[in-house]
Symmetry: C2
Subunit: 565 residues, 2 copies
């Protein structure tokens, strides 16, 4: 259910015009230096220039406002204005203006839903339209802490809506609770630090007053990572990083940028884009997920074949913990000086502290981008082709193999055609695939491709891949594994406890993956949902090492979201 | 001093014929599986088949014998038979048959040494030719432990020579001690486990009898990592992994190989090569350094532009610690399930346990290899060109910029020419570079290049790089930093404490690097030599995290080499 919404929302970032301002661009300051060294941060940063303190430059506003409820759904994924409805003719439509599908009629979606899911428009389940604040657990915050907090002048809220918005991620059961019930435990207070130093102050106060902090970035977790432990008796602070969202500098010489960790993906890429750069890190959630969240969950992006995963992109991390600030004293891409402490932070999922600033590699925006697709008679032939592409190490920036069920779902999302001529061409193409090539429309599958780089190389690369695809009979090696996405939906009409059924199915699938030597990958993390799985996968000693780090860094469990361990 | 020897020894691996035997090759067993999963180890491994237990297949012998003294220098780098001498005519020669330079006269080396270092053949310092075993500290080993050890049937030695060979790496001061004095503390006993299970037994016995274990792989450390702490009063066990050196399986479907960690680089690449594969990991020390050592020190290799560093190559690690065996339960290339415990192991430098088995990515041997070089008028132009190559992301497998001093040293190692005609061509080339192009021979520098891949791509790639080199005026970005090698030699005649002078210079250089935002990289690690540097670079909290892991995994400091922390 959530999956379908995600697929649609993922089709393109929002299009707000960027605020005008000038970035600090560094260049030429290391002329002739043979090593990629970082600029001396002191020269370029003014850590005390928080918004509260009145920064010299006007900060850039984020696409998502501090009051998320102003533009985001309170009980679903994405923007309020972007959703599926059925119009008077009974046809599906996608509302709003943000995406390619927005404002379009989707004439075949209804039939697909009826046929595939057995769903019917006759059987509507109406969820609550608005949050009823009287359902919300009260905010219990010690007055002494509030006095200390006010003295810092850091922004905070105890309003029910702000707290509920930060009480969850986007797991199916979390959204279900919002639509049909209410969480037992939610944060007591939301605090919005404006910069690294604000975070230091908040963590100090939390230690002083023995509070529990749960860091909140983009809220896109699908691992129960944001859920409050029901039996947490201390005041729970949701530390919302969204106001720490500035690019502090771009170093054009060394191709790095130093950025506050609360920035969300779409803002980051758009602002870097204004200077001609990108990070290339594109998790499906990038419209809403934050840089700090990518680091804390060891995120992977869909173009990792070219740009790498988050651990390949990050050069420097600053994290505030109850034990103090963790950061390396130098900004170099790699050291052989003992275990890399960045790897203690990446994947820590808010259990050790708050990531406040990150230096990340950037690249010039690729000159040329080209999308493509290849059709195969069945899934097995598709897998064979992708293995051959991997073996020849010519995988494009992104390559995804879509099975027949998803291919059919994709067709169900097709908008009404604009002219008879387009429809005619479309018919021809379908005829070519299903008849001329002899592919069975209920068997065929599709690989979607994205090539990036300079034009000439993209064209060479494309030719190489299509030459391989033309053979697609060769079964060979897959050098680095594949990431398998599951989209999963069912019609829960008549099932008394649909969440339980869903969770049973998900657990069974996970156990099957584990039994077959697979892993949980990509950007979803462990949270609380997959703790058992992690325990089984890293052995007691591995888990004990993680616990020993936790006990050292946070002996009083201030970062008490209880993820991972 | 050590550096010059290393440069020569690094010019090519030995050429012993490989022993005949058959590898377990897996293929096709995961036909059609979309994810790169590991084979179920039980099906292919027989962990109890240690050599001692009589393996079904004949194990492959290593190039380096168990008694290292049979072919290695006791007080220098490399093989006994490969060294520089001066012949009756006073000309330098390189002895032996192992390398391209072997058996050749180097007519200009003497002049270079006289001119550059102020050295003279008149002033010889004769070091001791043989180890005097009466200088060696006695072996003190508890009889109860020896009884337990004998019961395991694991091979061991208390002989002076075996112990001295494992008391050091190849730091300048270590070699100096061997030539002019003796170590105060050396291992009391050398033990050679034959497999993972043997290591488990040894670690159990060490815990039972409270001994100190120092793992020993290839002995190529240049960080004092192998030195015994002078005040260690417990029995010191040198756990020599060299007899755990078998490739246990090769998985051709997923392109991985599972290998015992004691294998040395030259054996690994030669044996994989017999099946058509390579790892591509080539640290300069690969002739002698071991797979386990690469993992324990977070090694980098000279072809990392294509193949990655050790952390990019490793898929699975098995390590024996006093707390138990650490390993993940699955063999997938990447997970997003909390911090990656492999990163607690990589860089641990023998302080947590012994790496016993590693699964590593392999690749088909590249179809085509091509070496090349480019000459620049001066070092700055060379740097500019390399930056541009990095920015355009077309760095070859290996690219090294050699400054004028090293260029001149390279010329000093030139062997006597075979014919007048070659000499004539050589003269022409020199004339072309120094006169026609107008380059000053005391200013010019050279980039050495290595391209690898399929033939057509190598040629395209080469053209792209040479096109850039032809411009070499553009100063631009360096995306991932450079690794700067320093070769350092001086003539210590007349200096009363040359080691002290050397160390002062080295420390000053290191501090200069740190002050300029640099780092210690490549495969050399921290050991004991660079502890202070590490402490400064990762902050107190970072160090505290590493200590908390150490305290959990090894509370009694069995792995007591005192590296890192």
């Amino acid at each position: 259910m959530a999956a379908a919404a995600e697929a649609a929302a993922g089709s393109g970032p929002g299009s707000q015009p960027p605020a005008q301002r000038r970035l600090r661009i560094l260049s030429g300051h290391l002329q002739g230096s043979p090593a990629s060294r970082a600029p001396e941060a002191e020269r370029f940063l003014s850590p005390s220039q928080c918004r509260a303190g009145g920064a010299a430059e006007q900060p850039v506003a984020s696409t998502i406002p501090k009051k998320r409820q102003e533009i985001l759904k309170w009980n679903g994924w994405g923007y309020n204005d972007s959703k599926f409805i059925f119009n008077k003719k009974g046809q599906a439509e996608f509302t709003g203006k943000r995406y390619r599908l927005s404002g379009m009629v989707l004439p075949v979606l209804k039939e697909w839903m009826e046929k595939t899911l057995g769903a019917s428009l006759e059987h509507k389940i109406t969820s609550r339209a608005f949050l009823n604040t009287s359902d919300v657990p009260p905010s219990i915050v010690n007055e002494e802490f509030l006095q200390d907090l006010r003295a810092t002048k850091i922004s905070y809220s105890q309003e029910a809506e702000d707290r509920v918005f930060r009480a969850h991620g986007h797991c199916l059961h979390e959204i279900f609770v919002l639509r049909e019930g209410m969480f037992k435990r939610i944060p007591d207070i939301v605090i919005w630090p404006g910069c690294h130093d604000d975070v230091v102050k908040i963590v100090e106060l939390a230690c002083k007053h023995n509070l529990c902090i749960i860091p909140f970035g983009g809220g896109t977790s699908v691992s129960s990572a944001l859920e409050c432990p029901a039996d947490e008796r201390r005041t729970i602070v949701s530390l919302d990083t969204s106001q720490m969202n500035q690019i502090l500098w771009i170093d054009e010489k060394n191709l790095t940028a130093h950025i506050e960790a609360g920035i969300i993906g779409q803002d980051l890429e758009r602002q870097l884009g204004e200077s001609g750069y990108c990070t290339g890190h594109e998790p499906d959630s990038m419209e809403f997920s934050s840089l700090g969240g990518w680091v804390a969950t060891r995120a992977s992006g869909m173009k990792k074949n070219i740009y790498g995963n988050i651990e390949d992109l990050v050069v420097h991390i600053k994290m505030v913990t109850p034990r103090g600030v963790i950061e390396k004293s130098c900004q170099v891409p790699r050291m052989s000086t003992g275990p890399d402490i960045h790897h203690f932070i990446m994947g820590s999922e808010g259990t050790l502290g708050v990531v406040t600033e990150v230096t990340i590699k950037i690249r010039p925006i690729p000159e040329y981008q080209k999308y493509g697709s290849v059709v195969f008679p069945n899934f097995e032939r598709g897998v064979a082709c992708l293995r051959e592409i991997a073996k020849q190490r010519c995988a494009p920036a992104s390559i995804r193999l879509v099975d027949n069920a998803q291919f059919q779902f994709g067709h169900a999302l097709k908008p009404q055609v604009a002219s008879i001529f387009t429809s005619f061409l479309d018919g021809l193409k379908k005829f070519y695939i299903t008849k001329f090539k002899g592919f069975d429309p209920n068997e065929l599958c599709v690989a979607t491709l994205l090539f990036e780089g300079d034009r000439e190389k993209v064209l060479q690369h494309e030719k190489q891949v299509y030459d391989i695809a033309a053979k697609f009979g060769v079964t060979q090696t897959y050098d680095a594994g594949a990431c398998v996405y599951f989209y999963f939906a069912f019609n829960y009409r008549g099932i008394s406890d649909p969440i339980h059924v869903y969770e049973q199915i998900e657990t069974a699938a996970r156990e099957e993956i584990l039994a077959n030597g697979g892993s949980l990958s990509h950007h979803h993390g462990v949270g609380k949902l997959r703790k058992q799985w992690m325990k089984e996968s890293i052995s007691d000693v591995g888990l004990g090492m993680l616990k020993s780090v936790k006990e050292y860094v946070d002996p009083n469990n201030i970062f008490g979201n209880r993820n991972l361990l």
